[in-house]
């Protein structure tokens, strides 16, 4: 029936599930991804979901990748089409030679299919309805039944799926056995009625290693627990809400006093983002480690307080799980579009520290580090995640913690130091690094108190509108920002095999697609040195990298090439040498996109030598 030879691929293909949201498909789909991991084969799943609770289309895409390419690939090799609303688009999106899996209970006209794909019909509704009477059960078990059928088609080991079901329903015997039963209903039907396996197959491998499978938001929240955050104030906003929810869950497990049962943390759902950041700043001013999690619109609302944090020098940690803007934008789609908004947030001359984790493991590390940095630098630290890292399970190295590590509480003058007669000037640069000492409220009966304000003041925190006093303070803040350069995570450089005049700068969730793209570009003969920026302010090695290359591509997921703007602005370099490579349709950037954009530009740059052309 196919005009084209069916795709044949082991451990390297993309399966996309098209569902209706609210139908309970998410857990079955996630189990599919986990089951492949249990085969020792890396997967990279992504949720593509609407800003809605029930009834709208949702997709779950699983890239099966023995080679370990965790970025989105683009294209679909097998579509599990469970949503009639999106049928036409879903069928059209299958790669030639690909596979369509659908519920064949009701006959479909042949015009609804394609000739160049393999169509696999399983009467899911019929099987479900003949087995279950309860409508909710019918809906939920239908998902498990298609999982069973897929396991047969893709030659997966059913024991591994049963093991996962066993772990999920541990202690709930009835649910456990009924799920296993549903799995085999689908599997057996496929084995008896279809040619199994198809060209796409999962074979056991050993490429997963000790890696873990975790969402970036959960990892960042765990980083906050390990990093000693005791106050969290937040306002629900997609895609950041799961940070606060995960923090709550982690704290319930790990932060209660075993004897009294009391909480060693305080979490407040604010009435808005203004209150959330206000609570964070109040708590940090008073010496607790505090954070909020938000997304673009929340950042916009918080900017007045962010300026206060900068100018009055109060620590704060803001986790920004970026989504597509501007305004409400696309709340459930990913972008890296708040770089400028965060780097220069608030009125007046301000600059803020940004951290760019590439995956959940770095989200954990950088989240914990953010609290040290915030207290050391006495300013706002942004942890810049995005929806792609934050809300998807990502395979990453295991989380690590050194038990000898102590928190860096920064320069805090204690009652003893004040008693010794140390000179306390809240905004006095005693060490030349631009960072002054602070005192916590209530430290000493007669020494060390001061009045915190957003108005200008002298080195001893006394109100002043003198121009020289104001400028002196603003200059110290510049020194402090220079100090920050050497405290934040440094860029990581990876050079091409052969020396090259071309480089590429990238950051955050672009990382896996970039790594994969390098391979594709090398195959086309393009050699590129890579620099992954992990923080702002930029370390001096960014300037060196720019100096060492004729052209540097800046790959990012926003329209205006915001990181490039920041690099140009902060390094004062010729923008012509920085080539923007931007992807901003709300889907995660792919290796194919990067390789094509850079490859095409490289091809244009190649000038054929004149003599060769004439001869």
């Amino acid at each position: 029936m196919s005009d084209k030879k069916p795709i044949s691929s082991v451990n390297d293909f993309v399966v996309r599930f098209a569902n209706v949201n609210g139908s309970g498909s998410a857990s079955a789909n996630e189990m599919f991804a986990r089951a492949i991991l249990r085969h020792g084969v890396p997967v990279s799943p992504r949720n593509i979901f609407p800003s809605n609770i029930q009834g709208l289309p949702t997709w779950y895409e699983v890239r099966v990748t023995e080679a370990g390419h965790l970025g989105a690939r683009g294209g679909v090799d097998m579509m599990v089409a469970m949503n009639p609303q999106t049928w036409d688009k879903d069928v059209a999106g299958i790669e030639p030679g690909g596979y369509l899996f659908y519920d064949s209970t009701k006959p479909m006209p042949s015009t609804k299919f394609r000739d160049d794909i393999t169509v696999i019909g399983v009467p899911l509704t019929a099987i479900t309805n003949s087995t279950y009477t309860d409508p909710r059960q019918r809906q939920l078990f239908k998902n498990i039944i298609y999982l069973g059928a897929l396991s047969a088609l893709l030659d997966m080991d059913p024991k591994l799926i049963e093991q996962l079901i066993g772990e999920q329903y541990k202690g709930k015997e009835k649910l456990l056995s009924s799920n296993v039963h549903a799995l085999h209903l689908g599997r057996d039907w496929a084995l008896q009625n279809l040619k199994c396996p198809i060209g796409l197959q999962v074979k056991k491998s050993d490429k997963v290693g000790d890696r873990i499978f975790i969402e970036g938001n959960s990892a960042a929240a765990l980083g906050a627990v390990y990093g000693g955050a005791t106050v969290c104030a937040w306002y629900p906003i997609t895609p950041s809400s799961s940070v606060a929810e995960a923090f709550t869950a982690h704290c319930k497990k790990y932060r209660h006093d075993p004897e009294t049962g009391k909480a060693k943390y305080a979490i407040v759902q604010g009435e808005d983002e203004l209150a959330s950041i206000g609570i964070v700043i109040g708590a940090s001013w008073n010496g607790a480690r505090a954070f909020t999690a938000t997304s673009g619109p929340g950042i916009s609302l918080m900017t007045e307080f962010i300026g206060l944090s900068y100018f009055a020098e109060i620590p704060a940690v803001i986790m920004n799980i970026q989504r597509a803007g501007p305004s409400t934008g696309m709340p459930t789609r990913t972008q890296q579009c708040d770089i400028i908004a965060c780097a220069y947030a608030s009125h007046g001359d301000t600059k803020h520290v940004l951290l760019f984790p590439e995956d959940p493991a770095e989200a954990f590390e950088f989240a914990a580090a953010a609290f040290d940095l915030a207290e050391r630098l006495q300013t706002t630290i942004f942890l810049m995640l995005d929806l792609d890292i934050g809300m998807n399970h990502r395979l990453c190295r295991p989380l690590k913690w050194d038990d000898a590590r102590q928190y860096d509480r920064g320069k805090v003058m204690t009652a003893e130091m004040l008693e010794e007669g140390r000179d306390f000037g809240r905004y006095l640069d005693v060490d030349g690094d631009g960072i002054p000492y602070r005192t916590y409220p209530g430290t000493h009966p007669t020494k060390g108190s001061y009045f915190t304000r957003g108005t200008s003041r002298d080195r001893y925190a006394r109100y002043s509108e003198e121009g020289t006093v104001y400028a002196d303070n603003m200059q110290r803040l510049v020194r402090k920002f220079e100090t920050a350069q050497d405290l934040v995570p440094r860029p990581l450089q990876a050079n091409a095999e052969r020396p090259t005049k071309y480089g590429v700068i990238y950051f955050g969730s672009t990382s896996p697609a970039m790594d994969e793209a390098i391979g594709l570009l090398e195959a086309r003969g393009h050699q590129l040195d890579r620099l992954r920026i992990r923080a702002f302010p930029f370390h001096s090695s960014v300037a060196s990298f720019l100096a060492e290359h004729d052209f540097v591509y800046v790959v990012e997921q926003n329209r205006d090439s915001q990181l490039r703007q920041l690099v140009v602005n902060e390094n004062g370099i010729d923008p012509v040498r920085l080539v923007p490579i931007v992807h901003y349709d709300g889907t995660p950037i792919t290796a194919r996109f990067i390789a094509k954009a850079i490859g095409d530009h490289q091809d244009q740059l190649k000038v054929t030598p004149l003599r060769k052309a004439v001869s």
Binding site: R211, I212, F213, I214, V225, Y226, G228, T230, V231, A233, D257, T260, K262, A263, K264, Y265, A266, I267, V268, G270, E271, D272, L274, A275, I277, G278, I279, V280, I281, G282, A283, S284, W285, N286, G287, A288, E304, L308, P398, L399, K400, W401, D402, R405, Q406, T439, Y440, P441, G442, P445, T446, S449, Y450, F451, T452, R453, G454, R462, Y463, S464
Partner: protein, 351 residues
């Protein structure tokens, strides 16, 4: 000017409190407000209340928003940390500070622009949450620092200094605080120190969200005929339901009014409030009654003052969140960090 330090010397015979502090130890910098400003009288009352309660001055955190009222924390408790934050955002900053260290006393100072307009939401939600604080609104019905615009507490029909009549309805913060569940609600007048000082003292001793609306005439922009927040108008329309004394294991604060029926309210911390009722029917434990009473008198153009409602057994936000007794800001890695062994188990559960 705030950068001018007050002279340190004082009369050797100045009265000392239980901790050996004099009034001077509770003062701050010299006020920069207009001479005769009602806010300065409130400042004096706060100083008096803290002195009388023998509070260690440095154990108070003074937090304010923006505006004339919000400048005042610089003028009292000079040995306390102060935070002149962002317009209308004192309540959230105070909430965060309170979460970080439950052992300090939190004094939130705000104005009617700060709390009834730009910060109306934050005012409401901090009260809802039951943050343990004393929230004082220095209410003059006008924007002083920007020279005389109406605020949201200006009464409908009242006239600005320029002769403009206010056509918007007024927000009564006391009525709102009652509705939102504040567990200590009072109103007073900056010119009535005998009523205000014990109210502030009782509010500080109250464990929960204490709210005091203090009508404080603006000498520059809202003290003219036609204003309903002028000294003359408030004196004429003031209807006090009670006067009180606060007893903290020592002699009651002297008050100079005729005794009526006395009702003693014991607060959670053991301190007692002796309420001398002026309106014999008024019951300060009846939230609904207080709301009705307030509405009835407002309709008659009367400004009800005194302790309008108190729940002596109130719970605060820390109780709701079940937080540890030790201030969160003193906890370190040894108690906060679950450690590598737990992390290994977490890793194992994620495979």
């Amino acid at each position: 000017m705030t950068y001018i330090a007050k002279p340190k010397f004082h009369h050797p015979g100045l009265k000392k409190n239980d901790l050996g502090y004099t009034h001077r130890d509770y003062e701050g910098k010299i006020s920069t407000l207009c001479a005769g400003c009602g806010h300065d009288s409130i400042t004096a009352s706060i100083i008096e209340a803290c002195f009388e309660l023998s509070i260690e001055p440095h154990r108070v955190a003074k937090i304010s928003g923006i505006g004339c009222s919000s400048k005042t924390p610089d003028y009292f408790l000079g040995n306390s940390h102060g935070f002149n934050s962002v317009h209308g955002r004192m309540p959230s900053v105070l909430t965060g500070a309170n979460l970080a260290n439950r052992d300090l006393i939190y004094l939130g100072v705000s104005g009617d622009g700060d709390s009834a307009s730009i910060g109306f939401g934050q005012f409401a939600h901090s009260i809802r949450r039951g943050v343990n604080m004393t929230y004082i609104v220095e209410n003059n019905g006008v924007y002083g620092l920007t020279k005389g615009q109406f605020s949201a507490t200006a009464d409908r029909g009242s006239k600005s200094k320029k002769g403009v009549t206010n056509t918007d309805n007024a927000i009564d913060l006391v009525a709102i605080a009652l509705q939102l569940g504040a567990t200590f609600v009072a109103r007073s007048f900056s010119g009535d120190k005998t009523q205000l000082v014990p109210l502030i003292a009782a509010a500080i001793r109250h464990k929960g969200a204490s709210f005091i609306d203090v009508i404080s005439p603006c000498i520059a922009f809202n003290n003219h005929a036609g204003s309903t927040k002028s000294f003359d108008y408030v004196r004429e329309h003031n209807d006090a339901v009670n006067r009180l004394d606060v007893l903290v294991g020592r002699d009651p604060i002297a008050v100079d009014y005729a005794p009526g029926t006395v009702q003693v309210v014991e607060q959670h911390d053991g301190s007692k409030i002796a309420l001398r009722k002026i309106d014999a029917d008024y019951d300060p434990h009846d939230r609904l009654g207080a709301q009705t009473f307030l509405a009835r008198h407002a309709a008659k153009g009367q400004i009800v003052t005194g302790l309008l409602y108190v729940d002596p057994d109130a719970e605060d936000l820390h109780a709701h969140l079940n937080t540890v007794e030790t201030p969160l800001n003193t906890l370190e890695a040894d108690t906060l960090c679950p450690g590598s062994a737990v992390l290994d188990r977490i890793n194992a559960s994620l495979r």
